[in-house]
Symmetry: C2
Subunit: 283 residues, 2 copies
């Protein structure tokens, strides 16, 4: 169960090829073959079928573990190195699309920051692994409840904002005139499935799937009647098309949280302080 073996295993599984994995990892095909053989001998189970190369049930199970495991390993390394490293002059901020709001825009200094927008579930990983110095994630939560984030590493979490939620409906929708909606009333409706933007609602029936982080496109789809979207009210109202109806029940808010590694260097610490400043949403 050497991490090296695990790493080549996930590479082989992802590429469905021993040779391709060898090329990617800078090994010979022979080495990769031996890696997999070593893993299989260690666990006394076949992990991959050959020709075609695909994970067996046991291999699939191992794959589920391998991702978080390797992530945590990188996170540990990055965290310790960060203790000794000099504070970076230029800092990188990871943010999910809906976390980019007025608070962030106000806190951002004129220069020296790179903003990297990514799907919400990639933000904790990016901060933990040291790819980014700070992270902003968003998601639905009960009022003043912290978000349920995957704990890839011991990160410092601070709530920095909560907003009302609203549903974006096409203009002609029967509920378009209402002052508020309950999610139950829309249980049979078709929803846009946009995991990269956030607010994943498991229960709802998925209509169109939208992959990407561009909100304008998503709002346009909703306004055109391809499915409903749940968004922060401010965002839904600014969409410019469609009708925005606040969510009455269940009592959910759109919550934004700041993720920081345990050690914060100068410029990053200053930005974190500005982002969290005056926030009554501390977790």
């Amino acid at each position: 169960m050497d991490p090296h073996l695990l790493r080549t295993f996930v590479a082989v599984a992802r590429l469905s090829s021993f040779s391709a994995a060898a090329r990617e990892l800078g090994y010979t095909q022979s080495a990769v073959s031996q890696h997999i053989a070593a893993l299989e001998a260690d666990l006394r189970t076949e992990l991959l079928t050959r020709r075609p190369v695909a994970p067996t049930p046991a291999g699939a199970r191992l794959l589920e573990h391998a991702g978080p495991l390797l992530l945590r390993l990188d996170a540990a390394r990055a965290d310790v190195l960060r203790l000794a490293a000099a504070p970076p002059g230029r800092i990188t901020l990871a943010a999910s699309p809906l976390a980019v709001g007025p608070r962030l825009l106000a806190a951002l200094p004129a220069t020296g920051v790179t903003l990297r927008v990514m799907p919400p579930d990639a933000v904790p990983a990016a901060v933990a692994a040291g790819d980014c110095d700070l992270g902003l994630v968003d998601g639905p939560a009960a009022p003043s409840d912290p978000l349920r984030l995957p704990d890839v590493a011991p990160l410092r979490v601070t709530g920095v904002g909560e907003e009302e939620l609203a549903v974006l409906l096409p203009a002609g929708h029967p509920f378009a005139g209402r002052g508020a909606v309950r999610l139950d009333d829309l249980a049979d409706a078709r929803w846009l499935d946009a995991p990269d933007v956030g607010l994943p609602l498991t229960a709802a029936r998925r209509a169109l799937r939208y992959e990407g982080t561009d909100l304008r496109a998503l709002c346009a789809l909703a306004a055109a009647g391809h499915g409903l979207v749940l968004l922060p009210r401010r965002v839904a109202e600014a969409a410019g098309a469609g009708v925005c109806v606040p969510l009455a029940a269940p009592r959910l808010v759109h919550r934004t949280e700041l993720l920081a590694p345990a050690t914060l260097s100068g410029a990053a610490a200053a930005l974190a302080a500005r982002l969290a400043a005056g926030s009554p949403y501390d977790s």
Copy 2:
């Protein structure tokens, strides 16, 4: 960042001794010394002070990561092996003290089960690492909210019960006559700090710390006025001493959840089904 190196590192840190760690791990002292040197060379940082042996700040940081990391590694191994292994005839059930209730007692077969009571935070680890076949954990939660468990591994979580909470007060306490209490009213009170039993309330002032999993002793302490305890109402009422006052606010319940690995063998699957049977608390 080889797990072997990490393992000896935590052993050395725990025992504060290279030689003792070597004895425990079955290495020579020399090997342990080289392990630590390799880690420090890899991270280019001193991790331990020698004479006395203690973690440096960087070492302490690494220790925080190492525990969960090694746990996940064991969990991955156990999970894959469980796929292939024959179903155990005798199964082991991990449970936190407050998870031992009527539901469990009713579901337990006459024979073939070992019940292992342990602190709540040890239960997920025990199930993930394969030390136990099933786990029952309890904790406070908002009604119908899942518990916040450390995700050591992808476990199957099922809610199996929610109960009202109550505060156990000594007989002469000013609130002893009330029909219900708010936690806010007791903010200045002294609470028993019993992490092994569960229901850890961070905010409250800690009075006596109680280490152990015996509920009777804990209730006796509370009744004798050494501090308040928050317990499931049923447990608090059965204490036989002290006064039990239901909790009115915040709206919290005592929730019990069943933890199962992704793969369940015959006897364990049967017990899991009985434990979860008819439960309306599914997460």
